[in-house]
């Protein structure tokens, strides 16, 4: 089974964390720190598999995000690469040309999609379409509470153009190149 799944940016900022075993907050922080250090230190064309403590670590970079998960010994690393790839495909299908910003601003959706795909560290659904369908149907159940008055449009744009936001990078188009996105 997977022990955890982490998404973090090239600067080491955490974008998503999913733990499939009970772990204390302190331990979580420690693992996150070690994972980011280890994975970000890897040269661009190196192997996607690492060893850490008693786990196998599988990671892959899609554009500006690193997807990293910890496996137990009897798990198939090559298959886990496919799992990561499938998750990115699902995100892409849902958000349409997904990029890091989508995951930042809609992190709860990213979690919901993940929960339709994996559970308890195992794959839940192997069909590409079923997850998307489930998400759509769940959305229809969301009661629409009256939204607060929308802020003026210029305000929104102004915020989006803050200089230190990462560039709008399309993650999916980088899906089919090998390690290391071409954009930066």
């Amino acid at each position: 089974m997977l022990r955890f799944l982490l998404l973090f940016s090239r600067q080491g900022k955490l974008r998503l964390q999913k733990w499939f075993t009970p772990v204390t907050e302190r331990e979580k922080k420690k693992v996150i720190r070690e994972m980011t250090l280890m994975v970000l230190a890897r040269p661009p064309r190196s192997c996607n598999f690492l060893h850490w403590r008693d786990l196998k670590i599988v990671y892959k970079r899609y554009a500006s995000l690193y997807f990293c998960c910890g496996l137990e010994d009897q798990d198939n690393e090559l298959l886990t690469l496919e799992v990561l790839h499938r998750y990115v495909e699902l995100l892409d299908k849902y958000f349409g040309n997904v990029c890091e910003l989508d995951i930042i601003f809609n992190f709860e959706k990213a979690y919901f999609i993940l929960d339709e795909f994996l559970m308890g560290g195992e794959i839940l659904e192997t069909s590409k379409t079923a997850v998307g369908i489930a998400m759509e149907e769940a959305e229809t159940l969301q009661e629409v509470t009256p939204p607060p008055p929308p802020p003026p449009l210029t305000h929104t744009h102004g915020h989006l153009s803050l200089t230190h936001l990462p560039k709008y990078v399309n993650m999916f188009s980088v899906l089919f190149t090998d390690n290391g996105g071409v954009y930066e």
């Binding site: 690469l81 839940l124 192997t126 939204p147």
Partner: protein, 774 residues
Amino acid sequence: MSPSVRLQEMIRVIRGARTQGEERGVIQRECAAIRAQFRQADNGTRSHNLAKLLYVHMLGYPAHFGQMECVRLIASPRYNEKRVGYLGAMMLLDEKQDASLLITNSIKNDLSHSSQYVQSLALCTLGCMGSAEMCRDLAPEIDRLLRASNSYIKKKAALCAVHIVRKVPELGELFTPASRSLLSEKNHGVLHGAVVLITELCERNPETLEQFRKAVPELVQIMKGLVMSGYSPEHNVAGISDPFLQVRILRLLRILGRNNETASDAVNDLLAQVATNTDSSKTAGSAVLYETVLTVMDIKSESGLRVMEYISMTSLQKIVQTDHNAVQRHRGTIVDCLKDQDASVKRRALELSLALVSAVNIRSLMKELLLFLSSCPPELRAHTTSGIFNAAERYAPSQRWHIDTILHVLTTAGGDVRDETVPNLIQLITTATELHCYTVHKLYRALIADISVQSLVQVACWCIGEYGDLLLRGECEETEPVQVAEDDVLDALETVLQSHMSSPATRGFALTATMKLSTRITHNVDRIRSIVSIYGSCIDVELQQRAVEYNALFKKYDHMRAAVLERMPVIDKSSPGHTNGESAGGSIKEMEPTKRTQEVVLPQEPANQVCDLLDLLGGSGEPPQPSPALSTTMLGPVSSTAGGDLLDLLGGLDVTPVPPSVIVYEKNGVTLKLQTDRQTDTGMTITLTATNSTDREITSLTLQAAVPKSVQLQMKAPSGDVIPAHGLGQVTQTVLLNNPNKVSLKMRVRVCYTSQDFVCQDTVQIDSFPSPAW
């Protein structure tokens, strides 16, 4: 406008903070506001506030005050509030918190909710963070859902059951009956969940394992269906139908087939089928193949053993290119296969072992390979010896080990080694200056034991000639001292000279060695003189010529003899004329031996750069080979097929005799020489050597090459990328060219380097290659 716009607003504001301090301030304000909101009555914004809190939590700030809010939200009748509440529970609560107990009741209720999406929320949460008590409490519910619900819920219930079994193994018995019936489901998600559940149950309980053995035929059927089925867009990944399910089924079959004949037999056919039908060019296929191999290795079966091992080796060979590390783990089994009876299995095991050699495992793996060599079938010997030499050259942990290994190979299978072994070994020995004494002693001993293996005899003679004084001195640190008298040495050499087993070349070695000894020994110079004069009338022309020349050295040029026959300098690999160790004649370059770095990370030329080079050649016809999806840090050759209309520019290869080493590039103090090491009808090996005559060192040296279409190019790892200044060192890189169609061979080389902080890049075209050095 989505209802969570406030959340996104907050995210923007937080990201807008310019410093850590500012961010902390913003977050403190937001948290205070959230806390206040939580205390208020329900105002429709609770889910947004919790979501905001979860974001803050992800940034690393404390969020425990949200735990109770999660509990409240989970109990809410509204779906969106439940959703966020459960998400919060999974993120903020774990089984160690007391608050988690409070949600047990909510989960219980939601498990029987009318909406499947609410049920699924409860299942998901239970399956992720359910504590042992919660599991015990809710297990019957899960069992019920396993049996009588739609596929959407069934698959979730199955994985929830997996979690329960992991937490409370005794509950496994509860789920066994239901899981058996799940195998007949068509839905892949449910099937997958069922297989995972059954795997978990079998791993924990041997009786359950027995029970499920009966399910093997059914599993085999399902697997066959997946492998042979047509294209299914829903489950297709790179041409493989549902690799996730395939891998899980294989894993289950592995467990069921272990130590059981009948089960294994049933599985064998299937494994062969999977192995042959699965395309491993993409990761998905490799994953399935890898799992197949693991399964093959685990299960035992009488009839299919040979075939299975053969197939598994073939599959591993495919995988080792893409994922080296995964295959390393099974080195032990592969090495065992080396001892197998079957020749094809042995061959495969040999190739795989050679592919797996690395700096880490070289010593142990080499032991196995040497053992294999002593008992291997004759048709594999040449391949084995060359493989061993390659591996030893790349990964030798020490020179002494290297020399020992080569000597071992020569004594075991000297008749099957390739011709260039002798000069290579000689060159290696000259570089190991501290080991001269040790080496000559060892070789002497080998020589007096057996003079039938020509390569060994040649090396031994050469060494005795060079280092005879060390041999006669008697003391040696590394081996036991043995007293060798001058007569003994001369006897040995004479035996070689006179033996009918010695080839003409060997006798040439022996004669020259005898001659060299004339300056290194004191008493028996006359004896040497007489030997040499005898061979002055030898039938063999080569020997006769040598003997006559040496005679002349004794008679007319005696004053020069000492100088001519003195110890040779360290031989550089690329220098010409070191075939027979002739100390006279030939221009031996006195250069430092190139340092070999052990594990140089080969910077694989990215595809676009190769394309540039191809463009230079006038347009590329075919795209270059894609580099494997998973690249490794192992030293691996990079092969690229070049396109191009180069043939227009060619007028035909002009083979004029040129000195062995050609300067192909000279600029900014950087000189690039090219030398042909070997040339055959269909290919050649060349070495590019770069030297630097400036005051400062040259860094980041890279060489790239392009060749005409149909010629294959392999660039070995360069010896380094820094050329020391003042010509004190050099960088070499070997290039292998394979020219099966025998087209005119041309090459373009692009040289990139940094010199005195300038980055320089030049391209040179090489139209003719020098003839090989020897």
